[in-house]
Amino acid sequence: MEAGSLPELAGVPWRERASPALLARRGRLWTAYTVAHVVPFVCVAALLVALEPLSAPVALAALAHAWIIPELYAFRGANTAKPRRGPAHAAEPVAQGLLGDLLGHHERALQRETGLALERGALGVWLVGQQGALLVTAGGRRIHCFCVRVAEPDLPPSDRTAHLLLALREDEQGFATVANHAFSGASWRVRRRLPSAMRRALDAARARAS
């Protein structure tokens, strides 16, 4: 393990260390995967209508599949940013204070409003939540969604975010390696699946990444 690298990397020695090239490759794979899901269904729908117009309902079902499958993947990506459900944690104000101390003024205000901590890194602009992180790459058009969490069930929400934020700051590429890559695609596909407050955080990240 390299000096300065995230200690958690020792638990995933088989994973290739994340880098801009690896993320770009994953992005292209996700695009190809999406096209491979959409194009056959669209072709089937067109063929059905061309051969027999009365088969239009079946063609519509094929088109629905072409739309729903990519939507489900984007939904999975958006879920990585959403907070855990549950009752309010008594220690959250204390945890919120510590997280606030780790953030700059603008990022602190954004986190309190949206639940996501904005962090600029070498790979792009990150939005760190309680159980995942979104990475908006340069230009602001593509987003990568990561599922990552701290395995401590009783932590207050802001401590969860602080854990991820500190790990990200220790070793950004290591963080992206340890985290499970859940989705990559156009940022607008994830945006429309986010709660409205989180959309503002994503807009801010896209603006920073542009």
């Binding site: 204390v94 990552v148 700051r169």
Partner: protein
């Protein structure tokens, strides 16, 4: 005053405080630090926006050392 804190279900707990020239307080802080590392915590020194450093020994001059639990892909 430098502090060693641990993120936990209470939000965070201060485990030790010391000054650069107080050897006794620093030794107590080092003992607390090592105890937490042994049970699986990871120590981080926040160094301003965007930067933090993982440390394996308690840095005497750091203003704040935070102990966190390991993260994992969810």
């Amino acid at each position: 005053m430098p502090r060693l804190i641990r993120m936990d279900p209470t939000g965070h707990s201060t485990l030790a405080e010391w000054t650069v020239d107080d050897d006794t307080a620093y030794a107590e802080a080092v003992a607390a630090f090592r105890r937490e590392i042994r049970i699986g915590h990871i120590a981080t020194v926040p160094e301003g926006p965007g930067k933090a450093t993982h440390v394996r020994e308690l840095p005497r001059g750091a203003a704040l050392v935070i102990l966190r639990r390991p993260i994992a892909g969810g």
